[in-house]
């Protein structure tokens, strides 16, 4: 047993977090910043933060992740990090020549009270920021929120660049939230199929799932361009996917440039995808393409064909609030029973209430926790075993100990491939999700069947 010290009895903990289901804000900010074309994320703190975030993102995406740091020492921690950041900005523009530096703070620079906007202003006035180049800044203290909050805060900071010229560009902004590069690509494809002209920000497709060509581009071809970010202020509207990941930015843009927004669930599964497509159709005043209708039909076909395998199967799931909402809805929609639901993020009552609504009437008792951890999820599974665990890679220790079929989903996935390339959003992504669920369940049926009951056809 790998998690041999985890007792079955659940005792409430007030101070000790064990096996977190979240991490800290700055890594989310770094991921979001990588979705801007020509952007170098910069971590304003001690260099360990930057090293850890780059390592984790690299292990997940298996792609280069460039980011710089203010490399605080004890002196900077006492006297403030302004000199370090000023020097960093100068060095970065000289050596790496990005279009934009996206600075995020850390618990270190936040605790000592470094004032990012003031430092940025100083850099500007001292000519440290070359003509036509930009420095974005997001406050992302690690001691509040989670990686999701950090992502959201960095996306919100991108609104700094938006401009309104009073001439609408006819486009719809899409803020995809923290999803895979493959998911961002799929959302753009669906929008294009629907005939909607979009600006997606951030957009990590082509950045964190790039090709091998023998050429290294520190700033890959993908990512939302500065021109596009400026133009978001002229769009006809914004679709923000995910209340926790994307809504803040959309509302900020609405306030700043009067671009109306609508906050939707992330398009995981049939129903959330339906709502996404229906909304796109409505805001753009177009009819849904036959291709998308066909893809939807394929997903419904798989659901009805394989329903016997989903029906009443119990699931434990951990992830981020926005992802969980849509995925739990999907599971319930195919008659699976998500009985243990954990997010590490402090998503609060709003999240709990939504989860309760989604799981109402599934006929099982449901455990839901925000600001929870995987230790609790494991304990729940010991008390009420499940047929499937859906979680990031850390779930594999629980799955092995409890001998539970396991599907890797979320962040980080450190030990399997495909998430960068194959989406789980949209109808196509729904098919892939079902394929994975079925494979996990059917592999288990095959493994456990007696010789006499071993089946060729499933």
């Amino acid at each position: 047993m790998l998690l041999r010290h985890t007792p079955k009895e659940v005792v409430d903990r007030k101070a000790l977090m064990i096996n977190p289901a979240k991490t800290c804000q700055p890594i989310g900010a770094m991921y979001a910043a990588l979705g801007i074309h020509g952007c170098l994320p910069h971590s304003h703190g001690s260099q360990g933060c930057c090293a850890y975030h780059r390592s984790t993102l690299t292990r997940h995406y298996k792609e280069p992740v460039s980011a710089s740091t203010s490399s605080f020492t004890e002196g900077a921690s006492v006297f403030g990090g302004q000199a370090n950041l000023m020097q960093a900005i100068n060095n970065i523009f000289t050596v790496y020549e990005p279009d934009v530096i996206a600075v995020h703070t850390t618990c270190l620079s936040e605790t000592i009270g470094d004032d990012l906007p003031q430092i940025r202003k100083k850099a500007q006035s001292e000519g440290k920021i070359p003509e036509g180049k930009y420095v974005l800044g997001a406050s992302t203290p690690s001691y509040s929120g989670s990686h999701v909050t950090g992502f959201s805060n960095m996306v919100k900071s991108m609104i700094d660049l938006s401009e309104s010229t009073d001439v609408k560009n006819g486009k719809v902004n899409i803020i995809p939230g923290w999803v895979e590069p493959s998911d961002m690509e799929e959302i753009k494809r669906m929008a294009a199929l629907t005939g909607v002209d979009t600006i997606m920000f951030p957009d990590t497709s082509g950045v964190l799932n790039g090709p091998m060509t023998g050429e290294y581009k520190m700033f890959p071809d993908g990512g939302t361009t500065i021109e596009e970010l400026k133009s978001t202020g002229d769009s006809i509207g914004t679709l923000a996917l995910g209340e926790w990941c994307s809504a803040d930015a959309a509302r900020t843009l609405d306030k700043k440039c009067k671009v109306p927004c609508k906050v939707l669930d992330m398009p995981f599964g049939l129903k959330a995808t339906d709502r996404f497509v229906d909304t796109m159709r409505t805001v753009a005043g177009v009819s849904v393409s036959d291709e998308l209708v066909f893809e939807r039909g394929q997903l419904v076909d798989m659901i009805t064909d394989m329903h016997q395998y989903f029906y009443k199967k119990k699931v434990a799931i951990a992830g981020d609030p926005d992802q969980l909402i849509s995925m739990v809805e999907f599971l319930v929609s195919i008659d699976m029973c998500p009985v243990h639901i954990v997010t590490g993020s402090p998503a609060g009552k709003k999240f709990i209430k939504r989860m309760e609504e989604l799981t109402e009437g599934i006929g099982c008792e449901v455990n839901i926790k925000a600001k929870g951890d995987l230790f609790t999820l494991h304990q729940w599974m010991k008390n009420e075993p499940v047929d499937l665990l859906i979680c990031n890679t850390y779930g594999k220790y629980i799955a092995r100990d409890e001998d539970t079929p396991f599907l890797r989903w979320g962040f980080p996935i450190l030990d399997r491939q495909g998430h960068q390339y194959f989406p789980t959003v949209g109808y196509k992504g729904g098919l892939r999700m079902l394929e994975k669920i079925l494979s996990a369940l059917m592999d288990r049926m095959d493994r456990d069947a007696d010789d006499a009951k071993f089946e060729l056809v499933l």
């Binding site: 101070a15 991490t23 292990r59 100068n90 050596v95 618990c107 060509t213």
Partner: protein
């Protein structure tokens, strides 16, 4: 940036100039002192600058003090509850990511193993404002109530030092309260020092202060050693243990691969300290000598030749005929298989070139393996070393203590009143030295590098790319952050922190694994697919001729 066809020869002076050409003048001046052309008389830097501040904004490979303390030194000990006091991230990122293997097997299915767990106080804004001591105390209590471990270690992250939480008082009081659980803390805030290295030192100090010497029980074994600075990445330590067992050498403790609390507590009962990674653990070696009279020698179990040499050194130290004979038998038994694999692989790797930028001993230790395959190391350097790791320990008295190093506590150790027992007399030591066994000696990386090779401290991303572009190595070795940018250039890359998913590479079996791995990396056809047929011959003929 792309790698063009191979240059036959390069000029190191020219390469050095190109590496720093794009920097602002201040940065260029500083970096010039950290880039050394080996044995070049015209070189303006006769000594290399190391262990100095990273330049803000220059994309470094380095991590922080917390990573060196919690991640490197304390991470691999399975039965200590390692509780991180701080916001959640630091605990999350150090959770199972270093591939330190551990085997609680000997203690049975109930053997303690907390390594698959991450423990954190998950500090929130109110803890930053009002102080986190109460929360830390409550978290220690909860960990104790849940697991009843023999030891709980507390690690400070950046904000803890800034807000002034007195973690040492909290742990002292909790230790007194529990009575049966050793609780202590590490002030390893990420901003201390200039790299992971400061964290190693802090970890060494506290392990020595709070654990070493706690268990005086004399363990069985005739030839008892401690293996210092071996972290069991990819099972390296298992292979070294296998060889020790075969030779009849008893390893009392390993700092800290596959280790337990009790191993640290008993370390003072060994008769020799064998130091692998000089940088991360030399402090403990020195302190064990001063306080308990245990001498230390430098060993290296990376590479078959180095392994044989290290075993002979240990046998020579104990000066026992049976052990010397046994060691020779083991070497004679193990070497033929190793040599056969090396001979085969060498037909494909001979003359190929490598670059190594890792750690503060791996970039040195791994050169032996490449030599055994007929490969040349054309450039190497450390991420977080000090000058002594480059130039040898004789420079230690000349090292200038800067502001960053001064902040790291230097433990003053006195001989133990009752337990100090020199394992060898001064005369015996002198005789062994006359016979070529060096004590407390490490010559560093530079003497082992060829003339005109480039030795670069704290190599950064920009220089790494430039170096690969200009010198076109057949393989580049560094860490996960560097891996994919190098590979995008079409150059094979091997992680020498975590070994990708491979290993062990230590000892005799490890050497064979490594030869095979480098053979795979440097001779695979997969690197030939980078261009599509139409990119290789883009000319269009007037009309396609159907057959």
């Amino acid at each position: 940036m792309t790698v063009e066809e191979k240059l036959v020869q390069w000029d190191p002076v020219d390469i050095k100039a190109k590496l720093i050409a794009k920097y602002p003048p201040k940065v260029a001046r500083k970096r010039a002192k950290q880039i050394m052309i080996n044995e070049a008389l015209e070189n303006e830097t006769p000594e290399i600058t190391a262990n100095v501040r990273t330049i803000p904004g220059i994309i470094t490979m380095r991590g922080c003090t917390y990573a060196g303390c919690k991640g490197v030194i304390m991470g691999p000990t399975r039965d200590i509850v390692n509780l991180v006091h701080g916001p959640i991230g630091c605990s999350f990122y150090a959770w199972l990511t270093r591939r330190n293997q551990t085997d609680p097997g000997p203690e049975g299915p109930d053997g303690e193993n907390f390594m698959p767990y991450a423990f954190s106080t998950d500090m929130q804004e109110q803890d930053i404002i009002f102080g986190g001591e109460k929360k830390l105390e409550a978290a220690i209590q909860e960990a104790y109530d849940l697991f009843h471990p023999k030891s709980i270690a507390i690690f400070a992250t950046c904000p803890v030092g800034l807000i002034g939480d007195d973690i040492h008082t909290v742990t002292r009081l909790m230790k007194e309260k529990f009575g049966d659980c050793n609780v202590y803390a590490f002030s390893c805030e990420g901003y201390k020092g200039v790299s992971q290295s400061a964290g190693h030192h802090i970890a060494n100090n506290q392990v020595f202060r709070h654990i070493v010497g706690e268990n005086d029980e004399v363990k069985p074994g005739k030839f008892k050693i401690n293996l210092l600075g071996e972290y069991n990445i990819g099972g390296d330590g298992f292979e070294i243990d296998r060889i020790f067992d075969k030779c009849g050498i008893t390893c009392i403790s390993t700092f800290s691969g596959n280790s337990t609390y009790d191993q640290f507590a008993s370390a003072h009962t060994a008769d020799l300290n064998a130091v692998m990674c000089h940088r991360s653990i030399n402090y403990v070696a020195d302190m064990l000598e001063t306080k308990y009279g245990i001498p230390w020698i430098k060993v290296n179990f990376i590479g078959a030749e180095a392994t044989a040499k290290s075993l002979r050194k240990i046998a020579q130290y104990f000066d026992d005929k049976d052990l010397i004979k046994k060691v020779e038998e083991v070497i004679a038994e193990e070497m033929p298989a190793v040599e056969a694999v090396a001979a085969d692989v060498k037909t494909r790797t001979d003359g190929k070139t490598a670059m190594l930028f890792v750690g503060a001993s791996r970039a040195h230790h791994y050169q032996g393996l490449f030599t055994e395959m007929g490969m040349k190391v054309i450039s190497a350097g450390y991420e977080f070393a000090h000058r002594d790791d480059y130039e040898g320990r004789q420079v230690i008295p000349d090292l200038k203590l800067d502001a960053d190093s001064r902040n790291i506590e230097e433990l003053v150790v006195e001989p133990d009143e009752t337990r100090f027992a020199p394992r060898k007399t001064a005369k015996e030591i002198a005789a062994l030295e006359a016979d070529g066994l060096d004590f407390k000696k490490y010559d560093g990386l530079i003497p082992d590098m060829a003339k005109d090779t480039l030795i670069i401290d704290d190599l950064n991303q920009y220089e790494a790319e430039k170096l690969v572009e200009l010198m076109k190595p057949d393989i580049f070795c560094a860490g996960i952050k560097e891996k994919f940018s190098i590979m995008k250039l079409g150059v094979p890359m091997k992680q020498l922190h975590s070994y990708d998913s491979g290993g062990p590479y230590a000892g005799f079996k490890g050497a064979m694994n490594f030869y095979a791995e480098i053979d795979r990396l440097t001779n695979s056809k997969v690197w030939s697919y980078l261009k599509a047929p139409w990119q290789e011959s883009p000319e269009l003929t007037a009309a396609y001729v159907w057959e």
